[in-house]
Subunit: 317 residues, 2 copies
């Protein structure tokens, strides 16, 4: 479901490194070459290029890109070139350091829209990069209404197959509804439903919710809970229920209205280009009656636009 286009035959990591070196050396930088190379390699290939570049030139490719590029284009290229696990660990740290509850949503995305193995890898990387566990930092930096749900969501290691018990789903739909109505979504039993059940089981529970209460659980959260806790809970539910819907919404919100929220736009595209971008594009088209690529073209420009288009598989460089 990835959207990047990998050339055939694929140049070797050494050839790619040499081409990248040419692109960043001397006066001026060849941004298009950088996009053509890095924007068309998957995570494993990018990691091999970083290693080969380091060996060949005794410098870090990431550091070099950081010093040669600027603005939103630099952010997109750096985030994309980073190993996805390291990138997510760093994004989690940035979000926690910012003390901005809105930015905590990225932790929910990492916890609820990743595979169990990716989430564990991020927790491991977090420990080795920052000398403490991700959970310790959440407890230190996040405020009480968000803290508990976040700690449990990032600590999850869900069963990753479609084992569904309809009776349990019905019971838990009711438990969720009662907690939402009582504004008691931080009770242990609610947090455990959201953080220990497999995603297929939870999706069934959310569907039971819609059937029994004639309103979707995210709508109900929106009506009953307010502020940043609502958006944290709703994000968790959306990321579990349908990550493609969630990320289509993130992209749409970053673009609509005056001005663009480049950080959110970059994050969503970089995080999902190799995961489910094809489905996000379909979802986007269906929900907003416009092509994702057209919205990106309308709201961005220059090299930044080009790298985003490359990542969603719509560039013509």
């Amino acid at each position: 479901m990835a959207t990047i286009t990998i050339p055939e035959p694929l140049p070797s990591p050494v050839e790619d490194s040499e081409a990248l070196r040419k692109a960043v050396q001397g006066w001026g930088t060849d941004e298009k070459a950088i996009i053509r190379i890095l924007g068309r390699r998957n995570a494993t290939q990018r990691s091999k290029i970083c290693e080969a570049y380091q060996q060949l030139y005794q410098e870090s490719l990431l550091d070099r890109l950081d010093s040669e590029l600027s603005g939103d284009f630099r952010n997109a290229v750096i985030q994309w070139t980073l190993d996805p696990v390291q990138r997510d660990a760093k994004m989690a740290k940035e979000a926690l350091k910012s003390k901005d509850p809105k930015r905590l949503l990225v932790l929910v995305e990492i916890a609820c829209a990743s595979t169990p193995d990716h989430l564990i890898a991020v927790r491991r990387a977090y420990c080795s990069l920052f000398k403490c566990s991700l959970e310790e930092d959440i407890i230190l930096h996040a405020e009480p209404p968000f803290r508990k749900l976040l700690v449990s969501l990032v600590s999850a290691f869900r069963f990753d197959e479609a084992e569904v018990d309809e009776a349990v789903a019905q019971k838990e739909a009711t438990a969720l509804q009662e907690a939402i109505k009582r504004n008691a979504t931080d009770e242990d039993h609610v947090v455990w439903i959201l953080s220990t059940r497999n995603k297929f089981q939870l999706r069934t529970a959310f569907e039971c919710y819609s059937k029994i209460y004639e309103i979707s659980i995210d709508e109900d959260v929106k009506n009953s809970i307010s502020g940043d806790l609502e958006s944290l809970l709703a994000t968790a539910i959306r990321c579990i229920h349908s990550p493609e819907k969630h990320f289509a919404q993130v992209i749409r919100k970053s673009i609509e209205g005056l001005g663009t929220d480049e950080d959110s736009l970059t994050r969503a595209i970089v995080m999902r280009a190799e995961v489910d971008m094809q489905r996000i594009k379909e979802e986007y088209q269906e929900a907003y009656k416009v092509k994702l690529a057209d919205d990106v073209i309308g709201d961005t420009s220059g090299d930044y636009k080009d790298i985003l288009l490359a990542l969603i598989g719509e560039d013509n460089l």
Copy 2:
């Protein structure tokens, strides 16, 4: 720190399989040969032997041992031959199914006396063996006073290096003491201290506790909290503070008095023979003024005695 003695030169997995096949075939079983082979191979070597045996004879070595052997000897050989991760996942399942709160201690041992990577591997194995997460089964089977601490302890992924903040240790010693006095050890902030901090940090907090309150935290737990919750908490604290002390105590308790608790004796020796049995033996001698091997010899007999002695490095087969 392991106590098993691996022969040099090491026979190949095929040679070991052939010798094991001879030991289990025909009338009568050669138990000594089984001990001499499996009791002197590490986990990786045992796993290769299982593979080679399966390939050579189209049968599972574990199944064959299960049908040829009996009693405590069988249990010890089977538990030892199992991959340690699978063994721990199965022990966790058995403990949860038993509905006996005393048996939940094995979950605490797995959560608090293992490395973060081993614990994650056990959670992964649990999912694939039992089609649900370990946490889901804890919530289903364990009663409320144990449930919350257990879910958090097994979900931990602690930073695994000696980063200690003395001020935090002091503050958290006080928080722990207050919670113990108020019998409120299931409050979120207490559970988080015990389940998210690195072990070096927690050991410092436990030492601060002793200094400030002139009583060790385990003594205080014993005096203030009663029943199975006390023993769960005390086990968690001991496994974090000094696993060798904990397992020396488990072995001693399984032996002292009339009769022997073979299940606990086997579990402690099998779980720790490749981890820290050398230190457990030293701790045992110091605490009880008797050699662990002498206590094992005094309380067990036959092949069961011999396999235990092999695992603690004291056999003369």
